[in-house]
């Protein structure tokens, strides 16, 4: 057995042991529909906590932004580990040419990497068996440029997904496309909304079973937020559920059993708003979705209410800044919970729901771990929507505590923004102390790793009128560090969800807006908006390796096994999105469009064996 093959076997065995899936070796042949059946994928659980690894991608692959339905962003690979990560070097790079925020995760299935640029949303397939690597195909969907000016926070794309031989993603101008993995040809394209009225699509399409789930962006544009399910094979829309409106629009029926009484009642999506306001009340759906195959439920959060001026929309404004549990088949709401009732500061509830099984008070509970923009780290019971824990993970001034009896945060009366009155210091600002950037969980440490902020805002509200296609907004802001003019704007945090306390924290001068990734090599990877890409010890946060990249990192790192049997780490460096709130600060990088791929000693066997062009079969044979 050659060392490479041995390493590969070890990785596969490790993956198999962790996932309990014998199917790991059938690389690229996995049937998503089978994986979606209850019981598919025995939970990874160490006693410190775990998760269901379904759909059970091969250990060396990474086929959706979060890698699994549970949103763990944990890889079972350990060739790169604490002992050798110091030798990590650039193996190769690829530029997609688009100078907007690169917020997505590169995907790998088998011998190919799939990338999609931010607007104009071009897709690229890179052959990892060939030197370079070689561009297999590219796909240009040509979305409407009007969408650039309707996207609040840079014309970004937060990810794409692979399923059923297709690459599936949203276009900024409100279409969903499926592209054939082999040919790069469009299989279907579905129009979802009209960009002229302020709707865009920036989220990653999420695939579970035979369905694609997508939602809209535009929480600052007076949209009505929705999520929709499309048929994976044809792109046909199967159902759509709005975040506001009457029970029919929200798909609330007899199965809807929220835990807290304020969420029970008829047509709350209308009656918790002033008359006529719900239809432009946002609750947009632009974050990551998760899925529990055991209950066939999807979980996702909704955006801030619109307009952002709270004086114009008294009431709880359901179901904005909330989480929904919905039946994946029918779209029926099963429960909901509102993180920030009557949000007054733009605290979207869209941040991801991590489906973790955690040892709480001596028994393993099925939970959602959610770091909200409002600075509470929640542990919810994912079967009922009950709040098990709500702890602050960073500084905030808007809330004086949490009432576990009602499930409501207590609001600081000094922090109500009134029109044309200025509040000098509200923490966090509109983007929260954590935005959409997704955390990772390691079952080996029981910790959640998350990029966070350390910022506040000066806020003046102006009354807003609804004018289709323009911002329905009204917040004038200046943001600054919570620690004064020379203070840092961010941190990287390891959080114990069971105790509700930090394990360690790395202060950063700039906001951390990259995704996090944890590996079985006991490493955690993250990037900073000023361009550092770091690998740290998952147990104690010691920085073991770092490199400054050509632009800031707001993408999501991944790791994979290439056809040569070696483990690689990939991340995009292309600052943009909400990180641009720091653009005027010294040291802030220029935009970029480059995906970096790293390996131990920069080995890039595709390039070496490619020089002797007769050996691609051997290089790929290990798979």
């Amino acid at each position: 057995m050659t060392p490479i093959v041995r390493q590969l076997m070890q990785a596969l065995l490790l993956g198999g042991a962790l996932t309990g899936l014998g199917a790991c070796g059938t690389h690229g042949q996995h049937n998503e529909a089978d994986a979606a059946r209850p019981g598919a994928g025995a939970a990874i659980n160490t006693g410190k906590g775990g998760f269901n690894p379904a759909p059970g991608a091969a250990a060396g692959d990474w086929t959706s932004p979060a890698r699994d339905y549970a949103n763990s962003r944990f890889s079972p690979l350990d060739q790169i580990n604490r002992a050798n990560v110091g030798h990590l070097r650039v193996a190769w790079t690829f530029s997609d040419g688009a100078l907007y925020g690169h917020e997505g995760a590169p995907l790998v299935q088998g011998d190919t990497m799939y990338l999609v640029s931010p607007f104009p949303d071009r897709a690229f397939a890179l052959d990892l068996t060939k030197p370079g690597p070689n561009l297999k195909w590219s796909f240009d969907p040509k979305p409407s440029p009007m969408a650039i000016g309707k996207a609040c926070c840079d014309p970004v794309l937060r990810g794409w997904s692979i399923a059923d031989g297709k690459l599936i993603y949203t276009l900024l101008d409100d279409h969903v496309v499926a592209v054939d993995l082999k040919t790069g040809r469009q299989v279907w394209r579905t129009a979802m909304a009209d960009v002229a009225n302020g709707q865009t699509m920036t989220m990653s399409a999420f695939v579970a079973g035979n369905k694609v789930f997508v939602g809209n962006s535009g929480g600052e544009m007076g949209v009505a937020g929705w999520i929709a399910a499309l048929d994976l094979g044809t792109g046909r829309e199967l159902w759509r559920a709005w975040s506001t409106g009457d029970d029919k629009a929200v798909r609330i029926g007899p199965r809807f059993k929220p835990f807290y009484p304020q969420l029970r009642g008829k047509n709350l999506g209308l009656t918790t708003w002033p008359a006529g306001m719900a239809q432009h009340g946002a609750g947009a759906v632009w974050g990551f979705i998760s899925y529990d195959p055991e209950t066939n439920l999807i979980f996702y959060g909704t955006s801030n209410p619109g307009p952002r001026v709270p004086a114009q929309r008294l009431g709880d404004n359901l179901f904005s800044s909330s989480v929904f549990a919905r039946d994946a088949e029918t779209g029926e709401a099963v429960w909901a919970y509102q993180f920030t009732p009557h949000d007054e500061w733009d605290y979207d509830g869209v941040n991801e729901m991590m489906l973790l099984d955690l040892p709480i008070n001596g028994r393993m509970r099925k939970t959602i771990v959610h770091f909200d923009r409002n600075t509470y780290a929640y542990v919810l019971d994912r079967q009922t929507g009950e709040v098990i824990r709500a702890n602050n993970f960073a500084p905030q001034t808007w809330s004086t505590g949490f009432d576990y009896r009602t499930g409501r945060p207590l609001v600081n009366p000094a922090m109500h923004p009134l029109p044309d009155k200025t509040l000098d210091r509200v923490c966090p600002p509109d983007i929260g102390q954590k935005d959409w950037e997704p955390p990772a969980f390691s079952p080996r440490t029981g910790l959640v790793y998350v990029g966070i902020f350390n910022i506040c805002m000066k806020l003046t509200n102006h009354k807003a009128s609804y004018i289709a296609g323009t911002p329905y907004d009204g917040m004038e802001m200046a943001r600054f560090s919570a620690d004064g003019p020379s203070g840092g704007w961010g941190a990287f945090l390891a959080w114990n969800p069971v105790t509700g306390k930090p394990a360690w924290r790395i202060p950063e001068q700039f906001m951390v807006m990259s995704g996090a990734m944890a590996t079985a090599g006991d490493l955690v990877f993250y990037g900073t908006t000023d361009g550092w890409f770091r690998a740290v010890d998952a147990t104690n946060g010691k920085v073991l390796w770092q490199q400054k990249l050509a632009s800031g990192v707001v993408g999501q790192p991944i790791t994979y096994l290439a056809p040569d049997g070696h483990q690689y780490v990939a991340v995009a460096a292309g600052v943009g999105g909400a990180a641009m709130v720091q653009a005027a600060r010294p040291g802030f990088p220029a935009r970029g469009s480059t995906t970096y791929v790293f390996s131990i000693d920069g080995i890039n066997q595709g390039a070496v064996s490619g020089a002797a062009a007769a050996t691609p079969a051997a290089a790929g044979g290990g798979r």
Partner: protein, 180 residues
């Protein structure tokens, strides 16, 4: 308990919505008043003019509200009320849309070019306001944009002191960026 307040707000916002909706009106293709030659501004070029003999009179057009002392304040009010600030920033430094305070103009920065951008809209998301606002309001908005300091003076007037602030990456200003 909050019912009275809710109803009061509903009435106010409904009234605001109606007034906005009510501004949809037919406006003439040229400003109804002011010292502007009929038909001049639709001839405004977006870029430079090829061919030395081309008439460039439109580029020399002054803002007909240039001498109206209330125009800038009225333009500022409209800039907030019409949600322009939501894209271009309350300070005009850009955000979702380009900055208006520098000397980088995608579609020209003379008063007539700014007016035309407001009237017709632009392809990357700038709506056309020519059917929602009367020309007098568009000239007031133009006056406000001129007051931000980055506009290009009409042809034939002396250039201002170079501010030295070109922003090729429109939308890179910090605090005007939305936080989705």
């Amino acid at each position: 308990m909050r019912a009275a307040g809710i109803i009061a707000i509903a009435v106010v916002s409904a009234a605001a919505g109606a007034s906005v909706g009510g501004w949809v009106m037919a406006s003439p293709r040229v400003p109804a008043s002011g010292p502007v030659s009929q038909g001049a501004w639709p001839l405004v070029p977006m870029g430079d003019v090829a061919g030395a003999a081309q008439p460039a009179a439109a580029l020399a057009m002054l803002n007909p509200r240039a001498r109206d002392p209330g125009a800038v304040a009225r333009g500022r009010r409209l800039f907030v009320q019409m949600n322009c600030a939501g894209c271009h920033g309350y300070d005009g430094n850009g955000g979702m849309g380009p900055a208006l305070t520098d000397s980088y103009w995608r579609y020209g920065g003379t008063p007539a070019q700014i007016f035309r951008t407001l009237y017709d809209g632009r392809p990357q998301g700038m709506p056309a306001w020519g059917h929602a606002l009367p020309p007098a309001d568009l000239w007031a908005l133009t006056a406000y944009v001129q007051s931000l300091g980055g506009s290009i003076p009409p042809a034939g007037t002396p250039p201002p002191v170079n501010r030295g602030q070109t922003r090729p990456n429109a939308g890179d200003n910090g605090n005007a960026i939305e936080g989705q």
